[in-house]
């Protein structure tokens, strides 16, 4: 790294709040954002709960109804988080000349919703009710809104956000899991570090929970079954319960430290290192890269925020990696995890953890990993940080793991001049 990169803004939208402050306050309690799925009848799915975020207010974000349709809920959350992050950083809500501003986004899958195709499908049915191509081609296909294809572009969230915010610099859109979120943060940090952009947004948006989306969740994760009031997802609990799908978005503003200080911006955290790896012992290798990336040898970690999604087998992998990374128990850091509270935010998960790391650094408090004090009687697989004030960690290591086992780690540090 040539120049230190710092975080000067961190926007967060979760089930527990429409911004970072609200989310943080709620995390100080012991509530979980998980609740029975609303918006559609989820009976029939094994997992019927999710950590659902409030519907975004397109009008308040300055987005027209047409553009809101093209973006969908997920991409509107992305814009909401981006606007909050820029505001916190003291940067314009829309750049007049954004050629020096980059944006790296991690976005999930987009499903062509049957509602968009319904009228065309209805008019394409033959006498037997089956799809009749002749009817479809005759004119039924023209019942589809002609801008619908824009709404199913994988990169539409980025394109709309760039347009709304005036961002014209370096960019990329990564798909589609938690590892994509890491790619976005790492590439953004790299671009800023190398001076190819003065400012870069990095973040992601979780997919909205929809019937198709929930069906996909069931395919790709070990979900927490049911929808009852009992505690659901408890990362690193002996009986961890399973993954809860989460909604929301998180976006960070990255700048070079010298530039941020020069303009008097508040330094929320320093991006101290990053790494990514796949295959054998990927968690360990990614973490080691992140901790040795900077000058001055290996970083000492005060708090580990691993992927910790709450699926028993994958949590166990991370627990094993923890013991390899820190073989001496007396020198091993405590562990925090938020997916039991906020659900699994997929492509937004890493940026969300980073936004919370900013609060941990600021307050010295660590929120409880398990909701409702659940399972306080059971010994966790890893030494979870005691909830509440006192820990005051200065260096935090964050980890993510994609559906496909691509792994990444990012080290964040408190922002004092080193």
């Amino acid at each position: 790294m040539s120049e230190r990169v710092v975080i000067t803004g961190a926007g967060l939208v979760t089930a527990l709040g429409g911004d970072r402050a609200a989310t943080w306050t709620a995390l100080g309690g012991d509530r979980s954002g998980a609740a029975p799925v609303t918006g559609f009848d989820a009976r029939g799915f094994a997992c019927r709960r999710a950590a659902q975020a409030a519907a975004p207010d397109a009008g308040a974000l300055g987005v027209s109804p047409r553009d809101a349709y093209i973006m969908g809920r997920s991409n509107l959350w992305f814009l909401q988080a981006a606007r909050a992050a820029l505001a916190e950083a003291g940067l314009p809500a829309a750049f007049a000349d954004g050629t020096d501003v980059g944006c790296f986004a991690a976005l999930g899958m987009i499903d062509p919703l049957p509602d968009d195709l319904r009228a065309a499908a209805a008019r394409s049915r033959g006498p037997d009710g089956a799809f009749d191509p002749d009817r479809f081609y005759a004119d039924a296909y023209r019942e589809i809104y002609p801008l619908w294809p824009l709404a199913i572009l994988n990169n539409v969230g980025f394109c709309m956000a760039a347009t709304c915010l005036g961002i014209r610099g370096e960019n990329a859109v990564f798909a589609s899991g938690a590892d994509a979120g890491a790619a976005a943060l790492i590439e953004a940090a790299d671009v800023v570090s190398a001076g190819r952009a003065a400012v870069a947004l990095a973040g992601g948006a979780a997919e909205a929970v929809t019937p198709l989306g929930l069906a996909r969740w069931h395919r790709q994760a070990s979900l927490c079954p049911g929808d009852g009031p009992e505690p659901a997802c408890r990362p690193f609990h002996p009986v961890s319960g399973g993954v809860i799908p989460g909604e929301g978005a998180a976006v960070l503003v990255l700048e070079q430290e010298t530039a941020a200080r020069a303009r008097g911006a508040k330094i929320l955290a320093v991006v101290a290192g990053w790494g990514c790896a796949g295959g054998e012992s990927a968690v360990v290798r990614a973490a080691e890269q992140a901790l040795t990336a900077g000058a001055g040898g290996s970083l000492a970690v005060d708090l580990w925020i691993p992927h910790g999604e709450g699926a028993t087998a994958r949590d166990a992998d991370e627990a094993a990696a923890y013991r390899r990374l820190w073989p001496r128990p007396d020198a091993a850091p405590p562990v925090a995890a938020f997916k039991g509270r906020l659900g699994h935010l997929g492509p937004a998960a890493l940026a969300a953890d980073a936004a919370l790391a900013v609060e941990i650094i600021r307050t010295g408090c660590v929120p409880a990993a398990w909701p409702d004090g659940a399972g306080a009687d059971a010994a966790p697989r890893l030494p979870l940080a005691a909830a509440g004030p006192g820990a005051a960690p200065r260096t935090l290591l964050l980890g993510v793991r994609g559906w496909t086992d691509a792994v990444a780690a990012v080290a964040l540090a408190a922002g004092e001049t080193s």
């Binding site: 029939g44 062509p112 499908a121 296909y141 394109c159 370096e170 994509a180 996909r216």
Partner: protein, 438 residues
């Protein structure tokens, strides 16, 4: 914005990134050599659609890859995993096999230092899947999710085939790549972005080699329907092979095509140490966003200008160094005129001396694969000292007034190329490529 590479007291000289393997599969051929030979002859890979029943749609053509060409080049890996693999991933594996063989990737010492970056969008949902889903919704927003869940949610394998990140992950699995793994979904800029991002990963020392490229196969019901609704494709033409006519006044839209291109990027000393043959160098990469409108590109091509300037600055070169532009050249009214404006804005008076041509006149638009395929054809052109033509150039457009290498390839030694890829929605990428002279 960009900083030219320079060694300073505090920084070592920048790591150089070279290309040690190239592979592609396109409507014109199973390999780089086959595609290049036919492009050199000015052949078109476009014909009437046969992949699915498109009768009745106003758009009826495309650049298709014959089924017989698939899956026969990779030791059966793609065949064994076919149910999980999107067609674009099968194309990607074919292209990667050629590139990996050329680069002798099997002899690579440390696979943890091998990364993957792929531009791809996965598979579109099929008509069957869409109609299947309609059985579970009553048209008023209510879903019978119980029945849907009982039926398996939706088709198991299409779930995997639709995910864009399965393409790079499959490539990593096939070649044991333990380094960074990037799935880029920036539409038509994705292939070039993958090569650009891959170049940076190597430069930054985060890995020593990358499999980078793009793959696309959207010649299906949803893909063709979507762009038909947007009226973006050529519907009026004398013959399918004459429909893609970039910079020609009678151009009326792009021709959808499919294919894949993969390069092996490698740090120069790493390549030399293992005696790898070098086919060219990635000198620079620039990218930008239009931030204009989701529905239209910027009329002055400001985003395109930024991307090209960024690539030149990244390469530490002045506009006068550019000898050829491998244009995005989609054959839409809008792109070709704004791209011409942008080239003139970047190169100034020098634009008159620079040859510009569009491979899409022959190949059609391979979307996420285009940037990678065009990068390889550019490298091959420099190696052979030849400029590929823009075919179907018949009627000059007063607004497109550069040298488009009309209709016939031209012998000309050249050393520096800009290769443009401008994505739908306003993401722009440009690669600056250099000939390799030992």
């Amino acid at each position: 914005m960009s900083r030219p590479p320079a060694a300073t007291d505090s920084q070592p000289p920048r790591r150089r990134v070279v290309v040690t393997g190239c592979g592609m599969i396109t409507p014109l051929g199973r390999t780089t050599a086959e595609t290049f030979a036919r492009a050199l002859a000015g052949e078109s890979g476009v014909g009437y659609l046969t992949r699915f029943d498109a009768r009745g749609l106003p758009y009826t053509i495309g650049g298709q890859i014959p089924d017989a060409w698939l899956d026969d080049q990779d030791g059966g890996f793609a065949r064994r995993h076919r149910p999980q693999l999107a067609l674009c991933t099968r194309l990607l594996l074919t292209a990667a096999a050629e590139a990996a063989a050329q680069a002798r990737l099997d002899a690579l010492p440390d696979r943890t230092r091998l990364g993957v970056a792929v531009g791809a969008h996965g598979e579109n949902p099929s008509v069957d899947a869409a109609m299947f889903l309609h059985r579970f919704t009553d048209g008023q927003g209510r879903w019978d999710t119980a029945a849907m869940a009982r039926s398996g949610g939706y088709d198991y394998f299409q779930f995997y085939r639709r995910k864009p990140d399965l393409a790079p992950v499959t490539l990593a699995a096939r070649y044991g790549a333990g380094g960074p793994n990037l799935a880029l979904v920036s539409a038509c800029a994705a292939g070039a972005q993958a090569i650009g991002e891959g170049t940076r990963l190597i430069r930054d020392g985060r890995c020593d080699a990358m499999l980078a490229g793009g793959a696309e196969s959207a010649i299906d019901f949803v893909g063709v329907l979507g762009f038909t609704l947007l009226k973006a494709m050529a519907e009026r033409f004398a013959a399918p092979e004459r429909a893609s006519r970039p910079f020609d006044r009678k151009r009326c839209g792009f021709v959808m095509s499919e294919g894949a291109g993969v390069v092996v990027l490698e740090e120069l000393d790493h390549a030399r140490a293992r005696g790898a043959a070098i086919f060219g160098e990635v000198l620079g990469y620039g990218d930008s966003a239009d931030a204009y409108r989701i529905t239209d590109t910027h009329p002055a091509g400001e985003g395109a200008v930024l991307a090209m300037r960024g690539a030149l600055a990244d390469a530490g070169l002045t506009p006068e160094a550019v000898e050829y532009v491998n244009a995005h050249g989609t054959s839409t009214q809008q792109n070709d005129v704004t791209e011409t404006r942008a080239i003139k804005a970047v190169l100034g008076d020098h634009a008159r001396n620079v040859a510009v041509s569009s491979n899409k006149s022959m190949l059609g638009h391979t979307i996420a694969a285009a940037g990678a395929i065009e990068c390889i054809l550019s490298l091959e052109g420099m190696r052979r000292g030849v400029l590929l033509p823009t075919i179907n150039y018949e009627f000059p457009d007063p607004k497109c007034d550069l040298d488009y290498v009309p209709n016939a390839a031209r012998n000309r030694a050249h050393r520096v190329v800009l290769s443009n890829s401008f994505g739908f929605g306003g993401q722009n990428a440009c690669l600056c490529l250099g000939r390799w002279d030992e």
